[in-house]
């Protein structure tokens, strides 16, 4: 009795605190300013000193691949933005930059809030551990504490629909089950910003719809969403704005419909 009261007050306090925090940083979720990114191109990676000396002359000059050129994007809290463009236009690189997996050569990326990336699902799953253990491990990579995971574990398992297999080692899972578990973890880590890279090819029709519904719900809750997709239908359905990347530069930013229509006209 006493404990539940305490819990209630704690929750209340946390909620108020969060409210204050939200108000304070109500402006921008992601700010990308003047970002340049080049990748070194490794033709045949010269790893040893001998090779480096021998190929010194050959490797001079243009072995850098420019991926992103002077990107400027601002995304406010609660907005959902789509990144569209042909293959190799730098969409995924931009997402990776936002997660801080890689860093820009110059320019600045400011991210306010906790990020959950649905880029590479199931990263760090250990095949020999059970599904349940992997949930703990995977969620802890996202920066959750044990207690937070304890609170969520039932949601996660329910969402993945893997109740019967959750204590089996992950290596026995089918690829669909694997993805479902990974998606369930990533979407339940209570992040402020979700980065989604074409992962909605997860599972069957039923599960996909469930994912869409969940993302919509998160959007309603005021989460910021950055969404990479080639499917204009999905983009139109989810996003307030769209950014069209072409060969590493922003070609057009604006309302989803406008940008999509023009994109389809050019690339359709």
């Amino acid at each position: 009795m006493y404990q539940s009261f305490l819990q209630f007050y704690m929750n209340f306090a946390i909620m108020t605190l969060e409210g204050v925090a939200m108000k304070k940083t109500n402006e921008l979720a992601i700010e990308v300013s003047h970002v340049y990114k080049t990748f070194k191109q490794y033709y045949d990676k010269a790893n040893t000193l001998k090779e480096k000396l021998l190929f010194f002359k050959k490797r001079s000059g243009n072995d850098c691949l420019k991926i992103l050129n002077d990107i400027n994007i601002t995304i406010s809290k609660g907005e959902s933005v789509a990144l569209i463009g042909t293959n190799g236009s730098g969409k995924s690189t931009l997402l990776k930059l936002m997660t801080k997996i890689i860093y820009p050569n110059s320019g600045k990326i400011i991210v306010n809030g906790k990020v959950a990336s649905l880029l590479e699902l199931g990263a760090g799953f250990h095949p020999d551990f059970s599904g349940r253990e992997n949930i703990y491990f995977n969620a802890s990579i996202f920066g959750m504490t044990k207690q937070q995971i304890d609170n969520r574990i039932d949601d996660i398992i329910a969402f993945s629909e893997l109740e019967d297999f959750i204590d089996n080692p992950v290596r026995t899972y089918s690829s669909g089950m694997y993805m479902r578990l990974a998606f369930a973890v990533a979407i339940n880590v209570s992040a402020d910003i979700l980065l989604i890279d074409e992962i909605l090819a997860v599972g069957d029709q039923h599960f996909q719809e469930k994912c869409f519904a969940k993302i919509k719900q998160l959007k309603k809750e005021g989460k910021t969403i950055v969404f990479v997709s080639h499917s204009m239908e999905q983009v139109n359905e989810f996003c307030d704005r769209a950014v069209w990347l072409y060969k590493g530069s922003v070609k057009k930013i604006g309302a989803t419909k406008e940008v999509c229509d023009e994109y389809l006209k050019v690339c359709g």
């Binding site: 990748f39 997996i101 890689i102 703990y136 491990f137 802890s140 990579i141």
Partner: protein, 257 residues
């Protein structure tokens, strides 16, 4: 400061990582984590057989003399060896998810610390059994341990980050550690070194640390606080420089791996 905040937020990851490190070491072994106990015990048995019987020398209680220095040294080498590969070993996750990369070398240091503490239990038991005994000086143990930890954190930051860019470091480290083993008074005592070389041996920070352990555990005297103080300051410097290097280099980890 950012490091402490990150570590606090990702404490669960740190915890599971340490656990995985300790359990993973003995994975597939029938006796499992029990090896943490058995390993030093067997090593002690080997010393106890070889030195009094085959390689006789004048130092009384030579087995314990060796043991009190060898265990901290093993802690040092296994950590340094382990951390230089720590980032590369987790390359898969680094390329996919963001988390404070410092956690990887830190969990290596901490998991080895746990192993070392287990070893120390055995050490204390055998100090009592062998007749060397323990004295209140043992209370200084945490002080020396902390100095060693700071030094190890610094070294691990540097080595783990640099190894990503130049894998040669791993091999250099191997040879370097072997050389350092003979450059540290482990198998011999400090008094065996000719006076004119003695100042050089103190250039090796591990000398003061090992001597410190030996003073409180074996000789039952005060450790040389001046030497320990110098090593502590040097360790803090290495730590700061190491963290700085790590922060510089970590930005390229995902691309380099």
């Amino acid at each position: 400061m950012k490091l402490i905040k990150d570590l606090y937020q990702y404490r669960e990851l740190l915890k599971t990582n340490i656990k995985k490190e300790i359990r993973g070491k003995y994975k597939g072994a029938w006796l499992g984590v029990l090896w943490s106990f058995l390993n030093p015990l067997l090593m002690l048995a080997v010393y106890a057989i070889i030195f009094p019987l085959i390689l006789k020398n004048d130092i009384p209680h030579y087995t314990m003399f060796l043991f009190t220095a060898m265990m901290p040294w093993n802690f040092f080498t296994s950590t340094v060896n382990g951390c230089s590969y720590s980032i590369i070993a987790s390359g898969n996750i680094i390329k996919k998810v963001y988390f404070p990369r410092e956690i990887l070398p830190i969990s290596i240091v901490l998991s080895n610390t746990v192993n070392f503490l287990i070893t120390c239990i055995i050490m204390v038991v055998f100090l009592l059994l062998s007749g060397v005994g323990i004295t209140p000086y043992i209370l200084l143990f945490p002080v020396i341990l902390i100095i060693q930890e700071v030094l190890l954190f610094g070294i691990s930051f540097i080595l783990s980050a640099v190894t990503v860019y130049a894998r040669d470091v791993e091999h250099i480290v191997n040879v370097g550690l072997m050389a350092l083993f003979y450059g540290t008074p482990i198998v011999y005592s400090l008094s065996m070194i000719p006076i004119e070389f003695r100042k050089f041996i103190f250039l090796n920070p591990m000398t003061s640390i090992i001597e410190g352990y030996r003073s409180i555990l074996f000789y039952h005297t005060w450790p040389n606080f001046m030497h320990l103080g110098i090593v502590f300051i040097v360790s803090i410097l290495i730590f700061i420089v190491g963290l700085f290097i790590f922060r510089k280099l970590e930005k390229g980890f995902a691309e380099e791996l």
